[in-house]
Amino acid sequence: MSELIIENVWKEYGDQIVLENVSLTIASRAFVALVGPSGCGKTTFLRMLLGQERPTKGTILLDGQPIPTEPGRDRGVVFQRYSVFPHLTVLGNVLLGKEFSNARYKAKLLGATRRNAVEEALQLIGEVGLSGAEQKYPAQLSGGMQQRLALAQALIMKPKVLLLDEPFGALDPGIRVEIHTLMKRLWHETQMTVVMVTHDIREAFTLASRVVAFERRRDRPEEKQRYGATITKDISIWPPRLAGVPSNFSPDRDGPIDSLGYRRDDPALSGE
């Protein structure tokens, strides 16, 4: 279970009201896409879910408990940039979470625990399509590969909630289609609730089970400071998309997968 309840949340920075009176209940295993104009507070909202920022007013509950006030292992995250560690290889990046949880002081694993962790990491690396690139550093990967690595790195923690802030915004369309397929599969196969910020409406409707729009109700320049954004639209995809339930009724708006062919951004798989 991983239900998120956001109740009457306000966020102000000094005099500026960024979000006002946001209430939203996100069901366990939902895939919510947040859309809205630039600067309306989507990232701010995600940061509050992450625990990086606190609401000025209101409460956020995860499974009935107030959300911890700092980021933790129950909430995974992928940012648009800087989500992976440049000094670790692909394998090292994915292993890191395991090493943190199993070796309190050294944060390094040895022997059998390490072998098991490596096995798990390798499987995850395979699932996101990075097999063959295990020993590469992020600087040697394309943008799409880096984002898939960031996904694998977050997923090894089996978070309750996965938060994505424009994770695929910087990728070119061909690569994006491919990573969408991956994202969908991961959502179906894991137990997590996903909240994704995106600028791409099409991406929102392709992936999400529910699309939530943030907007300022009053947006005249003199009102900008005093009125924040709030939820103006809340659309559930119909027929409903449910995690783990294949649906013939929700055609993939990205079009057929087969056409991808050699558009992959992953030189490792094609043997390089």
Partner: protein, 272 residues
């Protein structure tokens, strides 16, 4: 083609690299020949034979008074002081720099203090050091530490602060504690910077060492130069200066190689 786009080939590059050195030596030789033609016993610009003789005396013949090979015993004495000073500074920079960069409380406590300390002119403190610590090695090492450590601490603290916030947040979502994040995320990423920082501090460190040796010592490269200055022994001073420069250049080069060998990703990041 624009000047900014014209590049030398391999041969041209080597020629250009050597050119300033060759010019320097040529200018010196011309001056030396001119002066010696006027007065064969001139001491200011000795010729090659004069240098060879002096080097032979200093490096390969035992000193009649002490039985030591002076160049080598001076080098050892100086290098011990230099590396002790740099070593202590490095450890301080690592510990304090990381702590200031990562922990807001320590930052509030130490950051302004270190900033003020780094403005104290080290040579002005030298008399105090001599009075408090005596004329031995301790005061010379202390001078190097006072001279270079504050800058290194500030530099590393800045570097630790500069790490993208996203990386630290990501590490937190992977379950890392402050200690684990310091050990596995921050430390490895600032170590390459530490090496670069050390390279940049080599010449101030030499400056402080030679200053301290010049004022009070009974051995060391700086001591020797200032000792023979009384006899206008340019034939010894010049080779000593060249030797000190060579030591610094080689240390600098080795440190950079070490960085690339131990932190291959830091070189990749530079190119990326």
């Amino acid at each position: 083609m624009r000047w900014i786009n014209t590049r030398p080939g391999r041969g041209a590059q080597l020629t250009l690299l050597l050119l300033p050195f060759v010019l320097l030596i040529a200018a010196y030789s011309a001056g030396s020949v001119a002066r010696l033609a006027e007065n064969p016993s001139d001491k200011l610009l000795p010729n090659l034979a004069g240098f060879a003789d002096a080097i032979n005396r200093m490096a390969f013949l035992p000193d009649p008074r002490t039985g030591e090979y002076l160049l080598w015993s001076d080098t050892v004495a100086s290098l011990i002081r230099l590396f002790a000073g740099l070593g202590i500074s490095t450890v301080m920079a690592l510990v304090l720099g990381m702590a200031i960069g990562m922990l807001p409380y320590l930052r509030a406590l130490l950051s302004p203090f270190v900033a003020v300390i780094s403005m104290v002119p080290p040579l002005a403190v030298l008399p105090i050091l001599f009075i408090v610590m005596g004329l031995g090695d301790a005061s010379k090492i202390a001078l190097i530490v006072i001279g270079v450590a504050p800058t290194m601490v500030r530099d590393l603290a800045l570097k630790a602060l500069e790490l993208p916030r996203e990386q630290i947040i990501k590490a937190e979502t992977l379950g890392g504690s402050s200690w684990q994040i310091a050990l596995r995320v921050v430390l490895p990423q600032i170590l390459p910077r530490l090496i670069t920082c050390l390279r940049l501090q080599l010449s101030p460190a030499w400056l402080f060492l030679i200053a301290a040796e010049a004022i009070s010592s009974d051995s060391g490269l700086g001591y020797r130069i200032f000792l023979v200055r009384r006899y206008l022994s340019m034939d010894i001073i010049f080779p000593y200066v060249v030797w000190i420069t060579l030591l610094a250049v080689v240390t600098n080069y080795i440190l950079d190689r070490v960085r690339i060998a131990v932190f291959p990703w830091s070189e990749l990041e530079k190119q990326a």
